[in-house]
Symmetry: C2
Subunit: 315 residues, 2 copies
C-alpha cells in the first residue's frame, strides 16, 4: 500500500480554485481567508460502504455522492460553497479505483465552485467523511425554524428517485443513464436553487432522510404542523413503472436520499420563488401548507411506522 502522503500527492493535491486558500493540502492544517463580513457555514457527512452506497458502485459515483450529500446541506441553508476537506478511510489503495473516485469528487468540486483544501487518509472499512464550508451574508441563512402557520410547503425537483434508484440497483440495473439509478448514485445538490430562495423561503431543509422525516424536523423546529396534499407529490420519472403506484408513493414520502429542497414560503411569494427557480431549470411544486396545529396530516397515516428506516439497510 502506498503511504498516505503518496496517495494525497497523487490524487488529492490540486491547485485551489481561488486565492482564498492561503495554504492547501500538505501541511498540518489548511489556511483559509474568509470573506469579510460573512458568516461561515459548515457541515459534515459520512458515507459508509454498504450503508449509504453499494461497495460495487462505480468509484467516480462514490466520490461524487460523498461530496454531494454534504453540499446538499449547504444548499439547504442557501450558502455559497467555498472549501471542503475529505477524511477517507479505505481498506487498501487500488490506483484505478482511487483515480476514478478522485475524478468524481473533483468534477463535482469544479461544478460547485468548491476547493478541496485538506483531508486525511486512514486504513479501515471504506467510508468518506466530507466537511464542507460555505459562506453567507449574516442573517440570510435558510433555517429550519422560520416556517409559519399559513405558509405554503413546496419541494424542488421530484421525489422518490433516491429510493427508486436503490431498488433499481438491487434489481441489477447498472446503467447510470437510468434516471432512477442516477438519482440514487449521482444526486445533484440544489446549490443554486438554495441561494435563489434566500429572502423568499421562510425555512428550508434538504430531503435526505425522507420527506416526512425532514418535514417533521421543520415542523418541530418552527412549532407548526403540516397538511400534505399527497396527490401533488412530484414523483420521479419512471418511479411508478419500477415500483408500482403504492410503493412509489411511499418512496416519495419516506425513501430519503432525494437531496431536493423542502421549503416553506408565504403564499404571496410562490410566484417569485417559482420564477427564480425556473430561470435555473428547477421545478418547484406546492405539496401542502403549514398550520398552527402540530402534526403532519393528509398522508402520513397511511405510512406504516417502522417503514421509514430502510435507509440504513444494506443496499
Amino acid at each position: 500500500m502506498s503511504s498516505e502522503f503518496e496517495l494525497i500527492a497523487r490524487y488529492f493535491s490540486r491547485q485551489p480554485a481561488d486565492d482564498s486558500v492561503q495554504l492547501g493540502v500538505g501541511d498540518d492544517c489548511t489556511l483559509l481567508q474568509p470573506s469579510p463580513g460573512h458568516w461561515l457555514v459548515v457541515s459534515v457527512d459520512t458515507s459508509v460502504v454498504d450503508v449509504h452506497f453499494p461497495a460495487a458502485a462505480p468509484a467516480h459515483a462514490i466520490g461524487h455522492r460523498a461530496l454531494a450529500v454534504s453540499l446538499s446541506d449547504l444548499a439547504a441553508m442557501g450558502a455559497t460553497p467555498r472549501w471542503c476537506l475529505m477524511a477517507l478511510t479505505l481498506p487498501e489503495a487500488q490506483d484505478d479505483w482511487l483515480a476514478d473516485f478522485a475524478r468524481g469528487f473533483h468534477e463535482l468540486c469544479d461544478a460547485s465552485g468548491v476547493s478541496l483544501v485538506g483531508g486525511d487518509i486512514a486504513r479501515g472499512e471504506l467510508s468518506i467523511g466530507v466537511t464542507v464550508h460555505g459562506e453567507l451574508p449574516p442573517g440570510t441563512a435558510l433555517r429550519r425554524n422560520g416556517a409559519r402557520a399559513g405558509d405554503v410547503l413546496a419541494v424542488t425537483g421530484t421525489l422518490g428517485g433516491g429510493h427508486g434508484g436503490l431498488r433499481a440497483w438491487q434489481d441489477g440495473e447498472r446503467n447510470l443513464d437510468d434516471p432512477l439509478l442516477a438519482a440514487y448514485l449521482l444526486p445533484q445538490p440544489r446549490i443554486a436553487a438554495g441561494q435563489a430562495l434566500r429572502g423568499v423561503a421562510t425555512a428550508a431543509i434538504d430531503v435526505s432522510d425522507g420527506l416526512l422525516a425532514d418535514l417533521r424536523h421543520v415542523c418541530e423546529a418552527s412549532g407548526v404542523g403540516a397538511d400534505l396534499d399527497g396527490e401533488a407529490l412530484p414523483l420521479a420519472p419512471g418511479l411508478v413503472e419500477r415500483l408500482g403506484e403504492e410503493e412509489a408513493y411511499r418512496a416519495a414520502l419516506g425513501g430519503g436520499d432525494d437531496y431536493e429542497l423542502l421549503v416553506s414560503l408565504p403564499p404571496s411569494a410562490v410566484d417569485e420563488a417559482r420564477a427564480r427557480l425556473e430561470a435555473l431549470g428547477v421545478p418547484l411544486t406546492v405539496i401542502g401548507s403549514l398550520a398552527a396545529e402540530p402534526g403532519i396530516r393528509g398522508v402520513a397515516d397511511s405510512i406504516p411506522s417502522g417503514w421509514l428506516h430502510f435507509r440504513g439497510d444494506t443496499p
Copy 2:
C-alpha cells in the same frame, strides 16, 4: 438503536462556549462568525478502531484522543482552537459507552476552548473523524517550509511515550495512571506551546508519524537536511524500563503518536523559546540542527527500513 437525532440531542448538544456560534448542532449546517481580520485554520483526522486505538480502550479516552490528534495539528500551526465537528461512525448505540465517550470529548473541548458545533452519526465500523477550526492573525502560522540551514532543531516534552504506551497496552497494562499508557491514550495537544512559539520558531510540525518521518516532512518542505543528536533525544519516563534501551531509542525516533511539537528556530531564539515554554511548564530540548545538505544524519541509518510502519498495526 436510537435514531441519529436522539443520540445527538442526548450526548452532543451543548450550549456553545461563546457567541461566535450563531447556530450550533441541530440544523442542516452550523453558522459561525469568524473573527474579523483572521485566517481560518482547518484540519481533519480520522481515528479508526484497532488501527489508531484498541477497541477495548476506555470510551472517555477514545473520545479524548480523537479530538486530541486533530487539535495537535492546530497546535503545530500555532493556531487558537475555536470550533470542531465530529463525524461518528459506530456499529451500535450503547448508552454507557456513548455517555463516557462524550464526556472525554467534551472535557477536552472545555480544556482547549473549542466548541463542538456540528457533526454526523452513521452506522458502521467504529471510527471518529474530527474537523477542527482555529484562527490566526494573517501570516503568523508556523508552517513546515520555513526551516533554514543553521537553525536549531528542538522538540517539546518527551518522545516515545505513544509507542511505549501501545506496548504497555499490549502487555496488559490498563491503568491510565501509567505515564506511558496515558501518553498513548490521553495525549495532550501542545496548544499553548504552539501559540507561544509564533514569531520565534521558523517551522513546526507535530510528531504524529514519528520523529524521523515528521522531520523528513519539514526538511523536504524547507529544502534543508538535518543532523540529529541521538543522545539528546528526551525519552519518555519509564520508556527504557519497559522497552529496553535500543527499543526505547527506536520508539523515540519512529514510534509516532507522541503529539509533541518538533520545531526549528534560529540559535539566537532558543533562550526566548525556552523561557516562553517554561512559563507553560513545557520543556524544550535541542536535538540537532539543520543544514543545507539534504538528508537526515546522525541516527537515521541505525533504523531498519520498514520498521517505521508499525503505527498502522492493530493495537
